[in-house]
């Protein structure tokens, strides 16, 4: 009697567990555009029953909830137990935990700087050449992603540590398609066409650009994205890397040229709404409103993928407003560079289940399940673009896949005093009319003062 009671209690617990799992696995096996073959193949090949993997990162709700759903599918496939803990003071927490020897298995870093420091202190475990080769092969602009995840270990040897998972795109120009239609403009395919279009708009008596650098204490950062994007379009990625690490000085003619090219957009009379003098004082959150004014205050706005949050209420992205890739020069043979950011996963405490989870992240399915929930872009070339939750994200995903070079936001990689300090203030000075060479020299001096 007692035995039966136990059995039915166990059965009840089992069914409850199943129902629970269903609610947390919203995508039914075999349905949707997902690559279920890759999931099933992985599930058949991997058995991690009884093992566990812990992941810590900066994602809070809702990103954390989406990632939990991914973990549920991982658990169902392998039998392992996976837990994610998010914290808004993750960057302090992970250093303390790793030093104290109580690190999670995997850490999710919001940018490579901290991961590189921790790798140098021997707190991370390399992912191995095989994984690096996989990224090189399967990610668009693969070598860029490998380079971004490769840091010197405690002995000074370069090893592959960081696996990028969820990236964002900054090289976007936003516009109102119906305004382009009314005026008979076409979306430019090359930088030459973009410049010609800007001149055309000015000749028609209109204003081509909306640019705003204001952002409270962080005023100036939108201009750093401009300069970085232009650097990638006028110089080779090597020069960009050298610039970011100060191997070439900030006042190198190639950098000054990029600043001056930004000046073509921001400082030419009639090219920017409110006149060149308004660029530094306009808040970046207010700057896109000109696109939607009647009559249009401007026709184009270069900003990262987050900007629709600041469009007027009721704006339908993809219909009322759309974007195109900030094009590269046809005259320069530099391919299609993309500027952006992203989060990367690195192993802080290695075990079998951890390696199994990293292998799971290589399946197209793991990316698609995140894409379908929104707020996630991937350079994985094996994914089905249709699984993106919206046409806008699908378009941005396509830009990532067409990229020949990907570079991380340079101001995030520079020391804080430069990338979040003198670079910002210098660009405000430049927008206000200072000479590009003087501004660059000042930034270089502040960089030298750090060393």
């Amino acid at each position: 009697m007692r035995h039966t009671l136990y059995t039915s209690a166990a059965a009840l617990a089992l069914t409850a567990g199943l129902a629970h799992a269903d609610a947390h696995m919203p995508f039914v096996a075999g349905e949707g555009g997902f690559n279920w073959d890759s999931y099933n193949a992985y599930a058949d090949a991997t058995d991690l029953s009884g093992q566990s993997v812990t992941i810590a990162g900066p994602w809070l709700s809702p990103e954390a909830d989406r990632f939990d759903i991914l973990l549920n599918y991982f658990e169902a496939a392998t039998g392992a137990e996976a837990t994610y803990t998010g914290s808004d003071s993750f960057e302090q927490q992970i250093v303390i935990d790793a030093e104290a020897g109580s690190a999670p298995n995997i850490a999710v870093f919001p940018q490579p700087g901290l991961a590189a420091v921790m790798a140098g202190n021997g707190l991370l475990t390399p992912l191995g050449d095989e994984m690096a080769a996989w990224v090189n092969e399967n990610y668009a602009a693969g070598q860029s992603w490998v380079d971004l995840g490769t840091y010197a270990d405690a002995d000074g040897n370069d090893q592959f540590y960081g696996f990028f998972f969820n990236v964002n795109v900054k090289s976007l120009v936003w516009y109102v398609p119906e305004n382009f239609e009314d005026a008979g403009y076409d979306v430019p395919e090359t930088m030459e066409e973009l410049l010609a279009l800007s001149e055309q708009i000015v000749a028609d008596g209109e204003t081509p650009w909306c640019i705003g650098l204001g952002s409270g204490a962080a005023t100036g950062w939108p201009a750093t994205d401009w300069v970085e994007d232009i650097m990638l379009r006028t110089q080779t990625p090597d020069v960009y890397d050298q610039w970011v690490t100060n191997e070439i000085p900030f006042n190198d003619p190639r950098v000054v040229n990029a600043i001056e090219t930004f000046g073509t957009f921001a400082r030419t009379d009639g090219w920017v709404q409110g006149g060149a003098g308004a660029v530094a004082t306009t808040d970046f959150r207010d700057s896109p409103t000109g696109l939607f004014a009647s009559p249009p205050g401007c026709y184009m706005h270069r900003q990262a993928s987050f900007i629709p949050a600041f469009f007027p209420e009721g704006t339908e992205v993809g219909e009322d407003a759309d974007f195109f890739y900030f094009p590269s020069f046809e005259g320069e043979d530099l391919g299609n560079p993309v500027l952006g950011g992203g989060t990367l996963m690195a192993v802080t405490d290695m075990n079998d289940a951890t390696m199994g989870f990293m292998a799971f992240l290589q399946t197209p399915f793991a990316h698609e399940i995140m894409m379908a929930q929104g707020g996630f872009l991937t350079p994985h070339s094996g994914v089905n673009l249709d699984t993106y939750s919206s046409a806008v994200e699908s378009g941005q995903g396509e830009i990532l896949l067409n990229a020949t070079t990907f570079r991380f936001d340079g101001s995030d990689l520079m020391p804080g005093a430069i990338g979040a300090g003198s670079f910002w203030t210098g660009m405000v000075d430049y927008a206000g009319g200072a000479d590009a060479m003087d501004v660059a020299t000042q930034i270089q001096e502040s960089w030298e003062a750090l060393q």
Partner: protein, 391 residues
């Protein structure tokens, strides 16, 4: 000796002008904040708050209804009728439209191409007519009336319009996106005990220092005066580590204790000076009649000291209400549950920096309570300010 009491100074006009200037200096920003908090985002972006009281000419981009859903077939072509403002959701029925369209257009390049009632020729037999109240008729063939609704650019004069939506979203939004209502009650939770506790303690202390004889009384008073000049920033970190050591940690108890401690020197000094000025005769006759010190304190001194107590209450209330520093150190932790309004507004500056209507509303919510407190008790403020200074 012209300038003695009782005669008017020749510089009265200067005093009046400076008072007027000071009053205007404070009234204008407050009024701007108040008016902005009743306006919509679009209104704030297109015109200043001083223009809110008059009818405004606005350029708007409106859109017809979705032709695929609403068009009506008629002898081989299609017709779509409706009202632009109704489609936009601004009003419920065409009768409610208050705007008066002066010119309109269908291209962003020519927003003033047509007058109300005129029929626009959109090419290949496609036509559109817009009336001054926003009623439109759009005709064309199957292909022309498809896809999205046609954009119509109207220039219209609209009467002043105010909305309570900002207050609703800041205070009563169930999702509590701005977090202001919780912060509002948290601030009250901090402020009320942090005002009452120091008054209670200081009133007792002030009585003792003013009317009870004990050795070292003058030294104690001197020590209290000396404490007035110690900046509180000096004590922040030692006090926090003390709180952590004795197990209070970060929380309401800690912030109440901190505000009490930082408020006490001024409170004791102010109340003691006031109580010293009370007539000695009353207190001595009470003593002769056999009253204890506690009876004298509760029955005589406290009622007589009401203006001083009230004025200190105003001071302490305003200071704890507007405080950010002490709350950041002793109260606010990473859980986000114990945020106060000042902190919430700083956060909003970062996250909603471009949304002036939210910022103005939040700011006004946070100054409304101090304003009420001040205006209801301001007659005690002046009396209390002079407490002890004039005998």
């Amino acid at each position: 000796m012209d300038n003695i009491a009782g005669k008017k100074s020749g510089l009265t006009w200067a005093v009046h002008i400076s008072v007027a200037a000071l009053v205007l200096l404070w009234i204008f920003p407050t009024l701007g904040l108040l008016i902005s908090s009743f306006r919509t985002t679009d209104q704030i972006r297109t015109s200043g708050w001083w223009a809110a009281l008059f009818p405004a000419v606005q350029n708007e981009t409106l859109r017809t209804a979705d032709p695929d859903d609403f068009r009506v077939g008629r002898d081989g072509y299609f017709v779509l009728e409706g009202n632009l403002y109704v489609v936009d959701g601004a009003v419920e029925t065409p009768d409610d439209v208050v705007a008066d369209v002066s010119v309109w257009g269908t291209s962003s390049r020519e927003i003033d191409a047509y007058l109300p009632g005129e029929t626009a020729d959109l090419g290949d037999g496609e036509t559109m007519t817009v009336q001054s109240n926003g009623d439109y008729i759009w005709t064309g063939n199957d292909e022309q009336l498809s896809g999205r609704g046609q954009r119509v650019f109207v220039t219209a004069e609209s009467p002043p319009e105010f909305t309570l939506r900002n207050y609703q979203s800041v205070l009563f939004d169930p999702g509590n996106r701005e977090g202001m209502s919780k912060a509002f009650f948290n601030t009250l939770t901090v402020t009320i005990p942090a005002t009452i506790i120091p008054i209670l303690i200081a009133a007792f202390a002030a009585y003792a220092l003013a009317w009870m004889d004990f050795p070292g009384r003058a030294l104690l008073v001197a020590a209290v005066v000396a404490l007035l000049v110690v900046p509180l920033q000096l004590a922040l970190i030692p006090l926090l580590s003390l709180h952590n050591d004795i197990g209070i940690g970060k929380g309401y108890l800690g912030v109440w204790l901190a505000h009490t401690g930082f408020g006490l020197p001024l409170a004791i000094y102010l109340l003691r000076n006031y109580m010293v000025g009370l007539p000695r005769d009353i207190i001595e006759s009470a003593k002769v009649d056999g009253a204890t010190d506690f009876q004298i304190f509760t029955k005589i001194v406290l009622p007589l000291s009401f203006p001083a107590l009230a004025s200190f209450a105003i001071f302490q209330f305003l200071w704890t209400w507007n405080d950010l520093l002490v709350a950041m150190v002793f109260l606010i932790d990473s859980s986000g549950e114990t945020t106060v309004m000042t902190r919430q507004i700083v956060e909003l500056l970062g996250t909603r920096g471009g949304d002036w209507e939210i910022l103005a509303t939040s700011a006004f919510v946070s100054i409304a309570v101090p304003l009420i407190v001040f205006f209801s008790m301001q007659r005690y403020l002046v009396r209390g300010l002079l407490a002890g200074s004039v005998k």
